[in-house]
Amino acid sequence: MKLRKVTAASATVFALALTATACGGDNNEGGGSGSGDGKTITVGIKFDQPGLGQKTPQGYAGFDVDVATYVAKKLGYNEDQIEWKEAKSADRETMLQRGDVDFIAATYSITPERQEKVDFAGPYLLAHQDVLVRADDNKIKSPEDLNNAKLCSVTGSTSAQNVKDKLAPKAQLQPYPTYSACLPGLQNGAVDALTTDDSILAGYAAQSQFKGKFKLGGFKLTNENYGIGVKKGSDLKDKINDALEAMVADKAWQEAVDKNLGPANYKNEPAPKIGDIKS
């Protein structure tokens, strides 16, 4: 009888120890601290978009990351004082409203609906919805050619649905959890095109494995004004706008574009004027 109690007890201890170690691993006690107290600043970015915001073994890399780093520097934070957080598309407004992050630079298009909930600094990049196709595929020359084509996109993304609703009603949608899952299929011909913002597509096409294999359609289906999201009414907005202007003025902006998006022959629009939102 005693022995059995010991077995049960040790099983419980084992289970508890398991949670203790499992929980011990991460302690991102978040909470966006107010700016300017010289400690840390919390920035929301994407973790899975090469060229814009990608988690890498060496840290975080991409155009959004470079812009955010520059802005943070102007706000008085060094690179090692930035705490990066993953800002998934659906979570961005809530993260800002609740103060989980101080600002968000995560392919965040300025739209009227979002402006009701959060404030935007910028825009800092004008992108367009576009398609990525195989380099040797000459069938898709205009958006209408996407009819009957297989179009890959991510689950819950509106860009593929837009194409289907407005331009090519007969297009077939293949949803995946991330864009990178679309690439093998695109390469092998299982899907015909991948659609989202051209800046994001350029990031994928720029990866060394895919050099020369994919090309951008150049359709400019929409205007996407990437802004830096801040909490509504935050005084950060003006400071970030000043930082963005400085970044364009001292050429750091163009350098960041060339470094992150250049390899894909991405022809970027000139740096947008602050507050100039193209609809």
Binding site: M1, L3, R4, K5, T7, A8, A11, A15, L16, L18, T19, A22, C23, G25, D26, N28, G30, F47, D48, Q49, P50, Q54, K55, T56, P57, K85, E86, K88, A90, D91, T94, M95, R98, D100, T155, P177, T178, Y179, S180, A181, L183, P184, Q187, N188, Y204, Q207, S208, Q209, F210
Partner: protein, 297 residues
């Protein structure tokens, strides 16, 4: 048992078996040949796509944090679901209909609903009615879904564990004048817990597998979604990343399954025990009264 199904093999049967073996081997080899041949044609076997996994950085940056989150969700789910399941399971054995009936309804209801539906519900619930941060919300949702479902499965395991004990145990306890609460607490539960251990460990396998739903549908950063982040960085090595992740899942769950059957064998061998053991698949067989929803599937 299996050897009872066929006779000792004579020369003809041996020849036939050799022939069958060869045919089967050729079929499997042809399939593998085609799979690897096509993968090679499509450039999926190029070393560049697999190379990241021989370096520690891929493991420390993506896989280990993902695995930690998988284990974290699974461990939290078990630890919350176990006491809940015990209470529900004991309640279903109550002498009072007003305790038995609600417990039965709760258990049967949550066992009939897909765990993914429970998770989606949890995610929306936490977003709408609580102020859990967006960082934690997927974890909360995954754990909620797993707890609701697995507490009901564990309730059936507990019930089966108590029912599996020999009747003499309760009779003897009542004969020496123990009350119902004492009977449960001092006699039945301690023995049942030991008898249930293998089934509980097997249920852990189900829980670990179900956390992957959180990665694929709820944006919880567990092991499966680590494959996504990883393939973004390593040039869309989707096949390689998913294969590595699948192998980790197999290894982890295989270890758990082996541990469960080792426990089961050991408990069945132990002479001092009452001989009551709830194996991996027994809970659902015991729970035929209701729907019974395949505890280990």
């Amino acid at each position: 048992m299996s050897s009872v199904l066929y006779d000792a093999q004579g020369p003809r049967a041996k020849r036939r078996n050799v022939l069958l073996t060869v045919v089967f081997l050729v079929a499997v080899a042809a399939l593998l040949w085609w799979v690897f041949g096509t993968l090679k044609d499509k450039g999926q076997l190029e070393w560049a796509l697999w190379e990241p996994f021989v370096h520690t950085e891929a493991w420390s940056t993506y896989i280990w944090p993902g695995l930690q989150n998988t284990l974290k969700a699974a461990a939290l789910a078990v630890i919350i679901a176990l006491p809940l399941g015990a209470v529900l399971g004991i309640a279903r054995l109550s002498d009072h209909a007003w305790v038995r009936a609600p417990a039965a309804v709760v258990v049967e209801f949550f066992r009939s609903i897909p765990v993914l539906v429970l998770m989606i519900f949890g995610l929306a619930l936490f977003a709408e009615y609580t102020n859990v941060t967006s960082d934690d919300r997927p974890l909360y949702a995954v754990v909620t879904g797993l707890v609701l479902y697995n507490a009901s499965v564990l309730a059936e395991i507990v019930r089966a564990g108590i029912l599996a004990l020999p009747k003499g145990q309760s009779e003897a306890a009542m004969a020496i004048g123990l009350r119902k609460g004492q009977l449960m607490r001092l006699v039945l539960l301690p023995q049942a817990v030991t008898a249930m251990l293998p089934a509980i460990v097997s249920q852990l396998v189900v829980i670990v597998k179900d956390t992957a739903l959180g990665g694929a549908v709820l944006t919880y950063s567990e092991l499966l979604s680590a494959a996504n982040t990883m393939s973004g960085y390593y040039g869309a090595n989707v096949i390689a990343s998913f294969t590595v992740v699948a192998v980790i899942f197999i290894a982890l769950n295989f270890a758990l399954t082996s541990f469960a059957s080792w426990l089961e064998r050991r408990l069945r061998r132990a002479k001092k025990s009452t001989g009551a053991v709830v194996g991996a698949g027994d809970a659902e067989i015991a729970g035929t009264a209701g729907t019974g929803t395949g505890g280990t599937v």
